[in-house]
């Protein structure tokens, strides 16, 4: 057991990642990369201000297209995910629509028994 633990510790040290170096260009910053790959919502709230600064710095460094692409991809990612109702959600939506219609049509067409 102890030797297994030592082996894991040894390999952890040997193949450990080197400490994060600050990227030369703001456009290559890991935070921008994360926003590109996973979307802006994947960036933790505490890093949002830093992300905004990095985006501005990236735009100033000539990465305007990269940043506009990042925003566009974010829209498209959400849009593609939720463009069509999947599985049971359309049935749920139909139930809501029918109850909504039934209620408001009833409001308009129903007669009050007292008025007869």
């Amino acid at each position: 057991m102890r030797s297994l633990f030592l082996i894991i510790l040894f390999f952890n040290i040997i193949i450990a990642q080197s400490p994060k170096k600050s990227a030369d260009s703001p456009c290559d910053d890991p935070l921008i990369r994360l926003a590109e790959l996973e979307g802006i919502k994947a960036v933790p709230l505490k890093d949002l201000i830093r992300l905004k600064k990095l985006m501005k710095a990236c735009e100033r460094a000539g990465g305007k297209d990269q940043i506009s692409k990042l925003y566009e991809n974010d829209w498209n990612r959400d849009y593609k995910k939720a463009r069509r109702m999947a599985s049971w959600t359309s049935t749920h939506a139909m139930c809501v629509f029918v109850s909504f219609g039934y209620y408001f049509v009833g409001k308009v067409l129903a007669t009050n028994p007292d008025s007869d």
Binding site: M1, L4, F5, I8, E38, G39, I40, K41, A42, L45, Y71, D74, W75, N76, D78, Y79, K81, A82, R83, R84, M85, A86, S87, T89, S90, H92, A93, C95, V96, F97, S99, F100, Y103, F104, K107
Partner: protein, 239 residues
């Protein structure tokens, strides 16, 4: 063998970091709601003069909520619509009371949606409601002053130092209901959106079901069933 399983779990922990990126979205919202209940027990009360009805204390509700997107096209959450009324100097037999009333509609929605356009969403909400009515009165009962003076006098000092005391008591009722709403959401950016909803709610309120200090009492007549409801709110996507 058991310790090897622990080692395996510890070794795999760093990999779990990748799973965290795929978490569904969490959003919070704040806004206002509008509805038109018939509050006969307050508005047409001939014995007690309640604050006059206005849009603020009758039709407007403050709304906040939190949603968790558990599926591509669906979210669940909690939403609270609360209407408040406050009145000072409500004349009662022994005191000029301060009156506070809140009607809360605590909604537990299941919302499905689809994106009509990249920044436009249509959503459909079906929700059970747990409603709560709360009436709070700050009164100045005389016997309370006597009791406190009797108690304080027992420590010595100047006799009967307290001339006025207040007491706050609350009467509460709960009811269940359901709601159905259609909504339109416009995303200003991928995190912030404006949401407009319209629909109806039905509440099974009964005036006999109020309680105060564990005693059952009859509360005000109110008609809060069969009500159209509208809401306007700002959404912020946390994740």
């Amino acid at each position: 063998m058991k310790s090897q399983i622990y080692v395996l779990i510890i070794s795999l922990l760093p990999l779990c970091n990748d799973i965290a990126h795929g978490q569904p979205k969490l959003s919070i919202d704040m806004g206002v709601g509008f509805y038109e209940p018939t509050l006969t027990g307050f508005d047409q009360n001939e014995t007690v003069q309640f604050p006059p009805k206005s849009i603020l204390n009758k039709n407007l509700m403050f709304n906040w909520g939190i949603y968790y997107e558990f599926f591509n096209n669906a979210r669940i959450g909690y939403n609270s619509f609360t209407s408040y009324a406050i009145g000072k100097s409500i004349t009662l037999i022994n005191s000029e009371a301060v009156f506070r009333r809140s009607l809360s509609y605590r909604i537990f929605p299941i919302e499905t949606f689809f994106r009509w356009k990249p920044n436009v969403e249509l959503n459909f909400t079906l929700a059970p409601i747990w409603g709560r009515g709360r009436i709070e009165l700050d009164t100045t009962p005389g016997d309370k002053t006597d009791d406190w003076n009797y108690f304080i006098n027992s420590f010595g000092g100047s006799p009967d130092p307290v001339s006025d005391m207040g007491a706050t008591d609350v009467m509460i009722t709960d009811w269940f209901g359901y709601s159905s709403m259609l909504g339109f959401r416009y995303y200003i950016n991928s995190r912030i959106g404006v949401d407009v909803k319209g629909g109806f709610m039905n509440n099974s309120y009964k005036e006999e079901n109020w309680r105060i200090q564990r005693q059952k009492v009859t509360g005000p007549k109110m008609k809060v069933d069969d009500l159209p409801i509208f809401s306007l709110k700002i959404i912020y996507g946390i994740r």
